[in-house]
Every structure is written in structure tokens, then in C-alpha cells.
């Protein structure tokens, strides 16, 4: 009996080990196949639909109190945008900086930092969740995006809001390394979606996206575009970057980053 069982056991172990190895290399090969990546990405649509269905438009992200603030709010992504244009703006303390709002709007507009500060403000203490896994709590102040969009008056064809940023996150020949982001109109008109100019009661530092960054509190950190220079209303996202709606989206990350 023993003589029969031992080789059988060894055979099973060997079989399991080689099957495991085959599965691992098979998974890597699958991971490389664009069709399979598309297949896996189909789950994003389901997540988006279900979260929108459950939460509707209005569910608010948790707001915290001053005692919850992170001692240090981690700086991530670009720390210092390159280029002379940004350097000049920075040296002038962003007095010459203008936020342009255009695209599918009835009234293209420009706002200075002072203009934005003079609009109705929202202050919110929220948790910032990075796609990497860490979280930090900070106090943001800014103007609700809804107010800016209302002034520019959206055309009926507008479906997405695109944020063009000053930072080039990756050097590319075709210019697709420029940071940009986009959100749908549900998030754009959400009360907690603000164009923030201050973090923890002081104007944004360069590392946190001076002079203006987006806060879109129900999504992960990479959606919160820093160094916003221009807001463009559009009906489609395939005209921008590599067509997926954002710098990280063009590199495989979810456009809907609510998870």
C-alpha cells in the first residue's frame, strides 16, 4: 500500500507545482494581452454604474474635524512643475495666473486667483485616499466648481469637464506626458467638488498644486488634478492625451476612481 501511495503523492505534488508554475506564467501572458486587459477593465463600468445607482448624485464624502487633520499631508506626484511659464507665474506669486474656462460653454471666461477667492467659498476637512493605499486628512478651501460652471453656462452637448494642468509628468515626444484629468457632470456639480486654493488655512504650496487644484472627494487622489490652468467642457474624451480621460488613465488606471 505504502509503495503505491508514495509515488502517487509525489506525482500529485509535482503536478500541483508545475500546474502552479504554468498558471503563473499564463497569468503574466494574459496580463500582457491588450484584449484581456480590456476584458478585465469591463469591471470598471460595473463599479461605476453600481456606485452611481446606490449613491445617486448627492451622497457626500465624510467630513472630519480639525482634530483629525494629518500632522503632515503627504506630497505626491509632481513636486515642482518644469518650464519657464510656470516659473514666471510662481515668481509673480500667481498674480498673472488666469484660469480659463472654455470648450462647450456659452460664455468662455477667465478668472484670476482673486476672482476665485471672491466667489462663494466652501471649506471641507476630508480624507484624501491615494491609489497606492495611504490616506491623509486635510482642510481644503475653494470655490465650488458648480459656481464656476454656472457662470460659464454649459452648452447642452457638454458631458465631461477636462482639467488641463501645468505639469509634465512624463517626458514624451508627442506631448502626452502633460498631466490632465476629467470627470463627469455628476461629480462636477457635486457640492464637495471644489477648485481649492488653500490647504490647512494657507495657500497651496507648490507640492500640493499651487495655485489651484481640483478636489473631487468621492474618488482617489490622482483625480484631484494639481496646477489647474484651464477647464474645458467637452462631449468626448478621446481627443485628449492618449484618449482615456487622464494622465494615469492613459497608463492603465481607472477613469472612474471611486474604488
Amino acid at each position: 500500500m505504502r509503495n503505491v501511495r508514495l509515488p502517487r503523492r509525489r506525482f500529485l505534488a509535482l503536478g500541483a507545482a508545475s500546474l502552479g508554475g504554468m498558471l503563473l506564467s499564463g497569468c503574466d501572458r494574459l496580463s500582457e494581452a491588450p484584449d484581456f486587459q480590456e476584458f478585465l477593465a469591463s469591471a470598471e463600468w460595473l463599479t461605476y454604474r453600481v456606485q452611481r445607482l446606490l449613491g445617486g448624485r448627492h451622497a457626500l464624502a465624510r467630513e472630519f474635524t480639525a482634530s483629525d487633520l494629518s500632522p503632515v499631508f503627504k506630497v505626491n506626484g509632481t513636486r515642482m512643475p518644469e518650464g519657464e511659464e510656470y516659473a514666471a507665474l510662481r515668481e509673480g506669486n500667481f498674480a498673472d495666473w488666469r484660469l480659463r474656462v472654455d470648450g462647450l460653454v456659452a460664455k468662455p471666461l477667465e478668472f484670476s486667483l482673486a476672482d476665485l477667492r471672491n466667489l462663494p467659498q466652501r471649506i471641507q476637512i476630508t480624507r484624501h485616499d491615494c491609489v497606492e493605499g495611504w490616506s491623509a486628512i486635510g482642510k481644503w478651501q475653494g470655490v465650488p466648481l458648480a459656481i464656476v460652471l454656472a457662470r460659464a453656462a454649459l452648452l447642452p452637448a457638454a458631458r465631461f469637464v477636462v482639467f488641463h494642468c501645468a505639469d509634465v509628468y512624463e517626458q514624451t515626444l508627442d506631448g502626452t506626458g502633460q498631466y490632465y484629468e476629467s470627470i463627469d457632470l455628476i461629480d462636477a456639480f457635486h457640492p464637495q467638488t471644489i477648485l481649492a486654493h488653500s490647504l490647512n488655512d494657507v495657500p497651496l504650496t507648490i507640492g500640493h498644486g499651487a495655485p489651484l487644484r481640483l478636489r473631487v472627494e468621492r474618488q482617489l487622489g490622482y483625480k484631484h488634478a494639481k496646477y489647474v490652468m484651464r477647464i474645458e467642457l467637452t462631449d468626448r474624451l478621446d481627443r485628449f492625451g492618449r484618449g482615456k480621460g487622464g494622465f494615469w488613465e492613459d497608463r492603465g488606471y481607472e477613469w472612474y476612481a471611486g474604488i
Binding site: 502517487r8 503523492r9 500529485l12 498558471l23 503563473l24 497569468c27 503574466d28 496580463s31 500582457e32 486587459q37 476584458f39 478585465l40 477593465a41 469591463s42 469591471a43 470598471e44 460595473l46 463599479t47 456606485q51 446606490l54 449613491g55 451622497a59 457626500l60 464624502a61 465624510r62 472630519f64 483629525d68 494629518s70 500632522p71 503632515v72 503627504k74 480624507r127 485616499d129 491615494c130 491609489v131 497606492e132 493605499g133 495611504w134 490616506s135 491623509a136 486628512i137 472627494e217 468621492r218 474618488q219 482617489l220 494615469w248 497608463r251 492603465g252 488606471y253 481607472e254 476612481a257 471611486g258 474604488i259
Partner: protein, 298 residues
């Protein structure tokens, strides 16, 4: 006792031994697992394997765990995998649990990449999906299979409730829950003594409690702690994240529950191998499990 007497006694014993009729054990194939149980078992295995490996890929993006709402570089993690490259030599991998630090070079903190070079990395490439560093793709795998995992578990729960499988086969009887009974079962397990004959028709109490713990505690806990990490879900169900004491706590519990599931898988596979892999695997594939019952009419 004289030498002569002892020899005689021994031969008498031998004679008695060989003359005792062998118990006539009849091999009986019984229906062990329903079709739904078998199907959902294997789909679950696929999902758990993909989720564990893609989860470790995601974990590698920030291999530190915290308690509370927030936690990042400036905060003190409860658990951390890192690399120390302050020395002259190659970087050393370390794992820190609370205030205890372990050197884990080669596996955690520092391990070899595809070209064989030692690089700084949370967990090694052979347990992540994909094997190379790719958070985006790891997340794609993770969330696709998370949906499949949830759907599969719902099918299993619905079928188990409808058929009475949970009450009939998984809920321990009052007798099985007696401390003496459980203690004996623990000792039997430690001695690798498995139930035979009629007793093998049913799960033993440790088995029942383990399956209940995995199916009704650990697997659902993975789902709810996973959801509690989603900023979108936190807006929809704020109490979900409070339940775990914050998003970073939920992430830590997600990791602990995943570790317990991994532990279960190892013990489960070991038990299958020890209890008779062919019989156990056949039962989970065809549904038929062989037991050996003594034939009363022999």
C-alpha cells in the same frame, strides 16, 4: 515464565490473530457535494487565488498598514515592509510588526527581479499578479475578480439556504459542540486520525467550525473591508468605514483576513492530502465520496 511457555503463548496469539475474521469493509460511494457546491468551490478557488496575488501587487505600492482613518509616510505604521540601503553593502529587506523588526532580505523588502537582480520590493514577484510592478493592472485583475467572487458567493449562499445545506451539513450539532467532543476532535486532528466508516459521512466539528468561519466570517469580511476602502462607497455607506474604525483600519483588517484565508488554504490542502487526495478531489469534482463501511451481514 519459562522460555518454553513464552514461545507457546506467542504462537497462540499469532494463531488467534490470523484466525480472527477480517472486518469486511465495503466501499461505498456516497453523494458528498452538490453541483452548486462543487462549481462555486472551484470558481471561488480561482477568485481567491487571483485576489490574493493581485492584492499583494496593490499592497506593494505602499507596503505599510495603519490603524485609524488616515496613515501615510509621516505616520507610524503598525506593520511595514521596507528596505534599508543606508549601509555600504546591498540593501537589506526588513519587516516590522509593532516594534519588532525582522530581517527578511530575499523575500520581504528586498527580492530578486526577473533578471535576478536584488531590488527593493514589498513582497516578491512570484506571489504578485502580474509578476512585474504594475499597480494599474493589479487593480484591474483585483476588481474584476472581486465582482466574480461576490457573485459566486451569492450563488453559493442562495443555494445553501434553499437546500438546507448550511443547517444540515455545516451547523455543528449540540453534541458536537460539547468541549469534550471538540477536544477529542482536536487531538484526532493532531494525531492525523481521520474519521472512517459511517463517521466519514459527515464533517467533524472542527471542520464544520472552520468552514463556517471562512464562509460566513472571513470571506464576507474581505468584501466589506474592501468596500470600506472605496472612497465612493464611503460616501454611500459612511457607517461601513466607521464599523472598522476608519479606512486605514479597514485596510489593515482586509490584510489580516486575507492572511487568515491563506492560512486556511494551506491547512485545507494539507488536510486533503493527508485524508486521501484522490477521494477528496473526486468528491469535489464528481460529487462522489468513497467511504468504507463494515458489512453487518458478513
Amino acid at each position: 515464565m519459562g522460555d518454553e511457555n513464552r514461545k507457546q503463548a506467542m504462537s497462540e496469539i499469532r494463531a488467534a490473530d490470523s484466525s480472527r475474521p477480517l472486518p469486511r469493509a465495503r466501499r461505498l460511494l456516497v453523494d458528498r457535494h452538490t453541483r452548486v457546491t462543487r462549481l462555486t468551490h472551484w470558481i471561488n478557488l480561482l477568485c481567491v487565488a487571483v485576489l490574493l496575488m493581485s492584492g499583494l501587487q496593490i499592497f506593494n505600492a505602499h507596503p505599510a498598514l495603519y490603524w485609524g482613518q488616515s496613515g501615510a509616510d509621516a505616520d507610524r505604521p503598525a506593520f511595514e515592509i521596507g528596505a534599508d540601503d543606508s549601509g555600504d553593502g546591498p540593501p537589506a529587506g526588513f519587516t516590522r510588526i509593532g516594534s519588532s523588526i525582522f530581517t527578511t532580505t530575499g523575500i520581504l523588502g528586498v527580492s530578486r527581479d526577473a533578471s535576478g537582480e536584488a531590488v527593493q520590493r514589498g513582497v516578491p514577484r512570484w506571489i504578485t499578479l502580474p509578476s512585474w510592478r504594475d499597480l494599474a493592472l493589479g487593480r484591474r485583475w483585483h476588481f474584476f475578480f472581486a465582482w466574480l467572487f461576490v457573485a459566486n458567493l451569492l450563488v453559493y449562499f442562495a443555494a445553501g439556504l434553499a437546500s438546507g445545506h448550511f443547517w444540515r451539513d455545516l451547523l455543528p450539532s449540540r453534541r458536537q459542540l460539547r468541549p469534550r467532543f471538540i477536544l477529542r476532535d482536536i487531538i484526532d486532528h493532531l494525531r492525523l486520525k481521520f474519521p472512517r466508516g459511517e463517521a466519514a459521512r459527515h464533517y467533524n466539528p472542527l471542520q464544520k467550525l472552520t468552514y463556517l468561519g471562512v464562509v460566513f466570517v472571513l470571506l464576507p469580511l474581505m468584501i466589506v473591508t474592501g468596500l470600506a476602502m472605496s472612497p465612493g462607497m464611503d460616501a454611500i455607506l459612511p457607517w461601513l468605514v466607521d464599523l472598522f474604525g476608519g479606512r486605514q483600519s479597514a485596510r489593515t483588517i482586509h490584510f489580516i483576513a486575507a492572511s487568515l484565508i491563506t492560512l486556511f488554504v494551506f491547512v485545507h490542502v494539507a488536510m486533503v492530502l493527508l485524508a486521501g487526495p484522490v477521494n477528496e478531489l473526486r468528491a469535489m469534482i464528481t460529487g462522489r465520496f468513497a467511504i468504507f463501511v463494515e458489512d453487518d451481514h458478513a
